[in-house]
């Protein structure tokens, strides 16, 4: 799973969001590091929708313009959870190795 897909799924984990809402939430989650362009966002959404990880939740009119809200599916929640566990495990291994390295260096 790419970082962009991971962040989009994370942005949809708590509530459904529309296109620009996802862009803002991804930027906030990544502390400004990942700024999705609209073309990139819809490429990611298409891929996630094809894999049935996200789906259309509802449509709303906002200031006369169409907003489509997307939500995380059960498969999407499962995929996000699996990826989060994998990343957490990787981070734990890295932290343990670094702790051992620092302990060896200071001994």
């Amino acid at each position: 799973m790419t970082e962009q897909a991971f962040l989009v799924l994370t942005a949809l984990a708590d509530e459904s969001r529309h296109g620009y809402g996802i862009v803002q939430e991804v930027e906030r989650l990544s502390e400004g590091r990942v700024q999705l362009k609209i073309g990139t966002l819809y490429g990611v959404l298409d891929r996630l929708a094809t894999d049935e990880l996200v789906s259309l939740d509802r449509e709303e009119a906002h200031q006369g313009r169409l907003r489509r809200y997307y939500r995380l599916t059960d498969e999407g929640a499962h995929a996000l959870e699996s990826e989060a566990v994998r990343l957490t495990e990787n981070a734990r291994y890295a932290t343990e190795r670094l702790r051992a390295r620092h302990a060896g260096g200071t001994a």
Partner: protein, 344 residues
């Protein structure tokens, strides 16, 4: 509709019509949300990163990304096949170039003299420069093998470096024939960069497919070596060059690529007529795309000389170009007719 919305809608015209019909309104809404107060400014324009992201999305959809129509999927396969065939040919030729390099540096004994080649003194910076340039063909072998073994990113880097090397060579001797050689390399490289996007699944083919151009390259080197040896021994004959004038035009890389495409194209047409289950849109279209740079390259070999040998060379080259043009057009028509219908 304000000016910025109108401009965003113009940018979105890059997308296929079917996709645009489905997504245009919500994408415009997202763009205008992002523009904030600037949306009311009549001079505001879409930013270049936004336009590039839409262009990249349009390319991915047209070449088989998520949401692509069967026709787009067929075009995606066509572009990837163009890259694969182009790289396979370059990998085969690279085996020949590398074997010749080994001969020039005295590592591989050749049955003919290579003459004085400018390779610099041993252990000099000039020798290192020449050696680096002479070993550059290995990039195409790496690129092809990586592509076949399911590593398109490695293939892209290798092919881009190989193309850069050929552009450097061309700037050193800016002739039309060298430029068309660059074009022969550029077409499959661009197809590789565009066709193997992140929405395509990389296929890991058997090792024997990766080795096929290398075996063909070794066989071709033996044929080229024997041909060169035969020419070297017969050039003192009073009938020189005789039949060789009819063969020379097939020996340069573009002449060999021409022969490959003519045989492959004719073989496909026969298979298309004889066995409907082998029909495909991608194979004839990929071959047709590759005939374009190769035809241009063959035409660049036409020479204004008026002696009999030059006239023979020109006649063969012209016949090659016409044959390529005809087979290319035939393959393009067959491929276009085999494409799935446009989405309504």
């Amino acid at each position: 509709m304000n000016a910025l919305e109108n401009r965003y809608r113009q940018v979105l015209r890059l997308l296929p019509a079917g996709y645009r019909a489905e997504r245009e309104d919500e994408m415009v809404s997202a763009f205008l949300d992002g523009a904030g107060s600037a949306a009311a400014d009549p001079a505001a324009r879409p930013r270049w990163p936004e336009i590039i992201s839409v262009a990249a999305l349009a390319l991915r959809i047209r070449l088989g990304g998520p949401g692509a129509t069967p026709r787009n999927l067929a075009w995606g396969r066509t572009v990837r096949l163009t890259a694969l065939i182009g790289l396979a040919f370059q990998a085969m030729m690279s085996c020949v170039y590398l074997a010749q390099t080994l001969g020039v540096y005295g590592v591989l004994p050749l049955p003919y003299t290579t003459g004085e080649m400018p390779i610099g003194d041993p252990a000099s910076a000039e020798r290192l420069w020449h050696l680096t340039r002479d070993l550059a063909p290995v990039l195409w072998i790496v690129g092809y093998a990586a592509l076949v073994r399911g590593r398109p990113r490695v293939a892209k880097v290798a092919a881009a470096l190989g193309l850069t090397d050929s552009v450097v060579s061309w700037t050193g001797a800016p002739e039309i024939s060298a430029l068309t050689q660059v074009l022969i390399l550029a077409v499959p490289t661009l197809a590789l960069l565009a066709g193997y996007h992140r929405d395509t699944k990389a296929h890991r083919h058997p090792v024997r497919l990766a080795a096929l151009p290398l075996v063909a390259g070794a066989a071709l080197f033996l044929i080229m070596m024997l041909s060169t040896w035969a020419m070297a021994t017969s050039n003192r004959s009073p009938q020189w060059p005789g039949a060789w004038a009819w063969i020379w035009s097939w020996l340069p890389p573009s002449g060999l690529f021409c022969l490959t495409l003519l045989v492959a194209g004719a073989g496909y047409v026969v298979a298309h007529l004889a066995a409907p289950r082998w029909r495909s849109a991608s194979v004839p279209l990929a071959l047709a795309i590759l005939t374009v740079p190769v035809t241009l390259s063959r035409l660049s070999y036409l020479n204004p000389g008026v002696d009999q040998v030059t006239e023979t060379l020109n006649a063969v080259t012209l016949a090659q170009s016409i044959a390529l043009l005809l087979i290319g057009m035939l393959l393009a028509v067959i491929g276009a007719k085999s494409l799935p219908a446009r989405a309504m």
